[in-house]
């Protein structure tokens, strides 16, 4: 018995050491640095203890709070669109039709496209003077003049970024939900049909409960992805116009590598982690109370 315990730990140790060394330790160090006024270069010599000042500054700083708002907006919109499109396409791909295997493969393609390529591609499609979206919509007489899709200082630009992001990422939800749908035995549908249930009833009573585990996984993954979004925003808009699309991660990046204020950047990143953990803990509580075991 003792021998087994020894073997168990021996096998675990390398991974644990690595994770502790490159995740655990740096994370604790980030928390520590967030309490200092520290420059990025030669920070150990010039670090000055400031306590929670960096955090207080974050909460009274309107542009950072704007960043929090942009991040929440991005997350909420992208979670809703991803789940909605994922469920609808999964239900479609669960039907019988000619060429189904081909379409199921096709759906994977956007997901496999690198994020950077996706961002660059959609920036080109949205281009105000030569973009394909402008060309398409004018030729279909939906809009009269070419528009600057990434030019509005309100939430419009962020919405366009979310659409580009969703196009690439919702297929993951499709794959997860489709796998869930395929687990539902066909006999159940037959049985309920005999009982005279309409499709709305079938959807609520059988389909939705059947794919709930997949939906919860999708929800957690999409929430984490949304709350830490950086790459697509950085590449499509560089945070602009006029900070309209800067997210929390973007502020961390800007603070550390633009203004070289390491302490303040660390405080921003700790706030980001806290927001993610609050959401995830909320989901876990929700999952437990709903009685879906993990």
């Amino acid at each position: 018995m003792k021998r087994t315990t020894y073997t168990a730990w021996k096998f675990l140790l390398p991974a644990m050491l690595v994770v502790a060394g490159i995740v655990g330790f740096p994370f604790i160090k980030t928390i520590y640095i967030s309490l200092f006024n520290a420059p990025l270069i030669a920070y150990t010599q010039k670090a000055e203890w400031v306590g929670f000042k960096n955090f207080i500054y974050a909460f009274i700083n309107p542009s950072f709070m704007g960043g929090v708002f942009h991040t929440l907006y991005f997350s909420l919109l992208s979670i809703s669109l991803n789940i909605l499109l994922g469920v609808l396409t999964a239900m479609l791909l669960n039907q019988k039709f000619f060429g189904r295997a081909f379409v199921r493969t096709l759906v994977i393609l956007p997901w496999a496209l690198p994020t950077v390529v996706n961002a660059v591609l959609w920036r080109w499609i949205y281009n105000p003077t030569y973009g394909a979206l402008n060309a398409l919509l004018t030729q279909l007489h939906i809009i009269q003049n070419y528009r600057d899709w990434l030019g509005s200082a309100g939430l419009g630009t962020m919405t366009m970024v979310v659409l580009a992001d969703t196009w690439k990422n919702y297929p993951l939800v499709t794959i997860l939900v489709l796998a869930g749908l395929q687990m539902i035995p066909k006999e159940i549908y037959e049985a309920v049909k005999v009982d005279g249930a309409n499709w709305w009833n079938i959807f609520w009573r059988i389909t939705l409960p059947g794919v709930r585990p997949a939906l919860l996984v999708a929800l957690v993954l999409k929430t984490i992805d949304g709350l830490r979004v950086f790459d697509i925003v950085y590449l499509m808009t560089s945070g602009g116009p006029a900070s309209a699309t800067k997210t929390i991660s973007f502020y961390v990046y800007q603070e550390a590598f633009g203004f070289l204020r390491l302490g303040q950047a660390s405080a921003f990143s700790i706030i980001n982690v806290t927001i993610i953990f609050v959401f995830v803990i909320f989901y876990i509580k929700f999952i437990r109370s709903e009685g879906v075991s993990g």
């Binding site: 675990l12 644990m16 490159i22 980030t30 493969t105 759906v107 390529v117 660059v120 591609l121 080109w124």
Partner: protein
């Protein structure tokens, strides 16, 4: 009467399904079509108004430039770096994760089971939570802007993720196949190598594939930790390229096609494993 309304219903459903299937196919293909067209068309066609959807002149000039020309130098280095980092990071994380996953699956002690959740929590960490400290640490050991440094950084998310995936697969392998060997007194590492690994091949393919795809796609860490040809990966090369030649969208499209081909080919060829890997955690709940 009843019969015909039944048929009417069927036809409606048929039209309904095919309408949305075509819509779905079009929505997926159109952006890809435009990416490929933009990489091949003459600039004149791309900036024409009204836009020429089917370009009049096609050429492979941009691809030639990427693989053999001056503009493509960074790109070719980045291609090499991306391949090396994906292999190094995934390879190292895979070995660590396989050992850990085997231990967590076969010896689920009370403390050790909690470690799986620690792994998962680690995976949830946003890059910004560890980025700054990692940057300082790697700078002290002169690993910033190296392939090795970036691979170490990637292990931070690959190790927990691959452990999670592999544990799911090993859980589904019956314990009994190991019993005979245990009685013979074979060591655990030998059992893992000789008995578990051959049975776990689909899971291993899935895990390695996901690791490679994640490394290939990663941008934020690469942006911070690499800056010159000796270490930049493809995403960074493309980003640098867009900042420098912001007007030449054709060139960016060509670079995009080249960067996108490896993951897309892998995902399509290995889609069975990919889907198994992605769904292994969720279907069981």
């Amino acid at each position: 009467m009843r019969r015909s309304s039944y048929h009417g219903h069927k036809i409606l459903k048929f039209i309904f399904i095919y309408f949305f299937v075509i819509l779905l196919i079009a929505s997926i293909i159109a952006p890809f079509f435009w990416l490929i067209v933009s990489s091949l068309a003459n600039l004149k066609d791309l900036v024409a108004k009204p836009l020429h959807w089917i370009p009049r002149h096609l050429n492979l000039e941009r691809y030639r430039e990427i693989f053999f020309g001056q503009v493509g130098i960074s790109f070719r280095y980045a291609l090499r770096n991306s391949i090396l980092v994906a292999l190094l990071a995934t390879g190292a994380s895979f070995v660590l994760s396989l050992l850990a996953a085997y231990s967590l699956s076969r010896f689920p002690g009370k403390y050790r089971s909690n470690l799986l959740y620690v792994m998962l929590a680690t995976y949830m960490m946003p890059p910004v939570a560890i980025l700054l400290s990692l940057y300082i640490m790697l700078r002290q050991v002169h690993l910033v802007n190296t392939i090795w440094g970036l691979s170490i950084v990637y292990s931070s998310f690959l190790t927990p993720f691959l452990t999670w995936i592999l544990k799911g697969f090993i859980d589904s392998i019956p314990k009994e196949i190991e019993e005979a060997a245990t009685i013979d007194g074979a060591s655990r590492i030998l059992i893992l190598l000789r008995i578990v690994i051959p049975v776990a091949v689909p899971g291993i393919i899935a895990a390695v594939l996901l690791g490679v795809l994640m490394s290939w796609d990663e941008f934020f860490y690469a942006l911070i930790f690499t800056s010159t040809n000796q270490a930049i990966t493809l995403p960074v090369a493309i980003a640098q390229f867009t900042k420098r030649h912001s007007i030449d969208y054709g060139m960016m499209a060509a670079g995009g096609v080249v960067a996108a081909l490896p993951p897309i080919i892998l995902a399509v060829l290995l889609q069975r494993y990919l889907i198994q890997g992605l769904t292994s955690g969720s279907v069981k709940g």
